[in-house]
């Protein structure tokens, strides 16, 4: 009985969470313009969507900002992760905490503070500010994806490359980068996802004429519900969902691998300890 209740409870939560999305998705295929009645199945709204100039422009903006900000954030974030990994003591702690804060910060705070910063720096609001904002909020996520990979690295790996004659830059490109690549790509995908998913920060940092998809959805919705919006939202939902699934699967695989590696290392150190105990020089001092 308790089990039954528990289960029902879980289903109810899911129902509440996903009902609005389910309604949205089914309405996007509804031939009737009104939300109250079902007028049959249609793909008409999807076709119209791709003919709408405003929407297509904001799609390009979203993709451009998403790809560019993800790439730039990945480069900066990876470099930062390496720096953090190689620093020590209180400096490391400080930078790590500075990295976590933007992740936990409410988006609206990030958005407004960036806006104020851009005003202060006298930047023209538009593509550039939007891009800078997206790069900024993406960097911590890249750092947090790359750091675990760096921790898994054998600490002698880089030295082994130098030892074999590689100059530092070559050692980084040929040895370190390929080893941490899975984390870098996860960071890139995550950054891209967060960028196309974002509304709040974009809203505060974009200028006239430059709109991402989410901003376009918002401004169109204010003018009245348009069935095209249902179609657009459905596409965005599916795209972000897919990306998140990919990111999660990658992270899960990575953790599995890390665990296997840890097991190996534990046995290694056990062996080491056993052989050290074989020759205990202390017994003679007890004499």
């Amino acid at each position: 009985m308790v089990r039954f209740l528990q289960r029902t409870y879980v289903y109810l939560i899911f129902a509440f969470l996903y009902a609005p999305i389910a309604v949205l998705i089914s309405l996007s295929f509804n031939a009737a313009r009104s939300r109250g009645s079902w007028g049959g199945f249609t793909l008409q709204w999807y076709v119209e969507l791709f003919q709408d100039r405003v929407i297509m422009n904001s799609l390009y903006t979203t993709l451009f900002i998403g790809i560019t900000s993800a790439l730039v954030a990945t480069i900066i974030g990876t470099a930062a992760a390496i720096g953090i990994h190689n620093s020590r003591g209180w400096q490391k702690k400080l930078v790590m905490n500075l990295t976590y804060i933007p992740v936990l910060n409410p988006e609206i705070v990030t958005g407004i503070s960036l806006m104020i910063l851009f005003v202060f720096a006298k930047l023209q609001f538009g593509y550039l500010t939007l891009l800078l904002a997206h790069i900024t909020f993406n960097i911590p996520y890249v750092i947090l994806s790359v750091l675990p990979k760096l921790r898994q690295l054998d600490k002698n790996l880089y030295e082994a490359a130098l030892d074999l004659g590689a100059e530092p830059w070559y050692a980084f490109l040929k040895v370190i980068l390929p080893e941490i690549m899975p984390g870098v790509i996860t960071g890139l995908l995550l950054a891209f996802t967060l960028s196309i998913d974002d509304f709040v920060v974009s809203f505060f940092t974009t200028g006239s004429g430059v709109a991402t998809l989410s901003i376009t959805v918002y401004s169109m919705a204010r003018r009245g519900i348009n069935p095209k919006l249902n179609a657009l939202s459905t596409i965005m939902f599916v795209a972000v969902l897919l990306l998140l699934i990919i990111v999660n699967v990658r992270q899960a695989q990575d953790e599995k691998k890390a665990r296997r590696q840890n097991d190996k290392e534990n046995t290694l150190s056990l062996v080491g300890r056993a052989s050290a105990a074989d020759i205990d020089p202390e017994w003679m001092q007890q004499q």
Binding site: D154, N156, L157, E159, A160, A161, L162, D163, L164, G165, A166, E167, Y170, K174, V175, P178, E179, M181, L268, V271, G272, S275, A276, D278, I279, P281, M284, Q285, Q287
Partner: protein, 349 residues
Amino acid sequence: MTDQQLVHLVGVSKIYDGTPALKEIDLYIRRNEFLTLLGPSGCGKTTTLRLIGGFEQPTTGKILFDGRDISSIPPYKRRVNTVFQRYALFSHMNVFENIAFGLRIKKMDEKTIRAKVGKMLDLVNLTGFETRSVDSLSGGQQQRVAIARALVNEPEVLLLDEPLAALDLKLRREMQHELKNMQKQLGITFVFVTHDQEEALSMSDTIAVMKDGEIQQIGTPEDIYNEPRNAFVAGFIGESNIVDGVMHEDKVVEFAGQVFDCVDGGFGKMEPVDVVIRPEDVKLVQPEEAKLQGVVKSVTFIGVHYEMIVQAAGIDWLVHSTLMEPVGAKVGMLVAPMDIHIMKKVSFG
């Protein structure tokens, strides 16, 4: 003589955050020598290797290579290669590419690379493993890839940091032989780190025994085993009984409440000393035949001989003997004067 000294550490210290890991080490390594750094954990063996490899800078002193100071030359410009304790193989490359890594940096042509890598694979018995991923190899195989990857660059010195520590006993014995053979065959100078004294004794031309960042003694395995300079070396190399004694005069020493003849001299009158006696040098006889009498406390058969603990004069003595005495038996212990080693007292940190 100087051309024989390939690597020379001159008064080298290394201080990490105020605590010294190496204290003014003087050490030279001859060409084609198999030199082993032996010592307990934390004595500075890895630090010494890392200084020679170029991964650390000495705090004081300098490192000469062929007579030239290389203290400030980066690792990628030194004609030295390292086999790391955890292998540090490149897991995104297969066996072939791992070994070819150094050759590709030197921009050799594909044919030469193929030939050289092939020869190395043959040397370490891994022919046919070219395309295997390194993660799929056993510990011993990974070990051999690491050795091949270093040796293929034809270094003048090969540094090996406890390369056999993670292998099981049987594989370890095999690899000890293989390594020794490779070293002779290729005529490369090996600097080998271990904390296993048997491994050190069986493989090395020269052993440097270290403790607390200092070299206690350097010499051939025979020298170090037969003529340990102090109680620490004696205790670390092979098993020993080490007891407090007092020198009465030259060739007369008192320990365990008795006065014995010995062969060492040159100590002050009544100077406190360490007396070292190897367990195999104690002869068990009838109680009345010896100055030292004791009771057998335990007996263990360990293959070639029995290992016994005999309590005499309040001290537990380790005795090796091919003849067994039962537990509780009263025995006498005889030691020949030349097997009583007298050593100056050293203070242990």
